[in-house]
Symmetry: C2
Subunit: 160 residues, 2 copies
């Protein structure tokens, strides 16, 4: 971190600097898990499970990112909202890009599906944030159970 | 409201009293919309649309309920968490109870599905809470679009 930043004593700048650094560490972890699968649900699983590994390895950093996401301070919130929007769009394209859409039943809009899965994950993160307790084992188990059902309903029968 | 409550000046008690009253008004509105359908998705739609009507008719009360849900004060949060858990379980049974499970593809766990839909709705409410802007028209339109896809994938083909 550049010394001038600390010397300046700008709390918001410092917070955002730490937040960006924490998110970079998180992204690196999640991307490291990427393999060459073209099954959208497998790609999703790899990312969620990599997130759980990060949660176990660096719980303090994970909690910091979580708290930033649900930050109440309007100045910080406004600043982070645009980052999240961009990150979500990039993240979605990173998942949809390599995914083989032919595995899906005809007419499925995977954008809707990913928004819903993202919303569900947000509710899991909200629970962790509001209790202050990270629970990677429970998230992993819960997510894998749901993936089984999503595959059955969203993919063509031969691809279950 | 009993005069002693105000006179006592217990802010937490007063807050909880107002919160319970607001939730009662909301529940009455949402339940009034109930009809005799046995299609789980129709029941869900009626509830979400009734919530949107309440949002339009009583935006201040709706925002109050929303802010209470995402309340940061740990004392209030702890108090409300149990209420929410109970309300969610009752709400889920009110939806699953009259629903005809024969309409679904075999082996679907509607508890998982309802948790996911609830998680998705929570992410919509979070957006409204964090921007301070209620958007019932957008929620209605968005939800109905998703219901179309859910029916296609979760129900047997003849029931789409």
């Amino acid at each position: 971190m550049s010394a001038w930043l600390v010397a300046r004593g700008n709390k918001k700048e410092l917070y955002l600097y730490l937040w960006e650094h924490a998110c970079r560490l998180y992204r690196e972890k999640v991307r490291k898990g990427d393999t060459q699968t073209t099954d959208l649900f497998e790609i999703l699983c790899q990312r969620v499970l990599a997130g759980c590994v990060f949660m176990r390895e660096a719980p303090t950093i994970y909690l910091f990112i979580l708290r930033a996401f649900f930050e109440e301070n309007p100045e910080i919130r406004e600043e982070l909202q645009n980052h999240y929007k961009t990150a979500y769009l990039h993240g979605t394209e990173d998942i949809r890009g390599p995914a083989d859409m032919d595995l899906f039943r005809p007419g499925i809009d995977t954008r809707l599906l990913l928004e819903e899965i993202n919303g569900y994950l947000l509710s899991c993160y909200w629970k962790m944030f509001s209790t202050g307790e990270l629970n990677p084992d429970s998230l992993e188990k819960d997510f894998l159970k749901r993936v089984g059902q999503w595959k059955r309903v969203y993919l063509k029968e031969r691809n279950h």
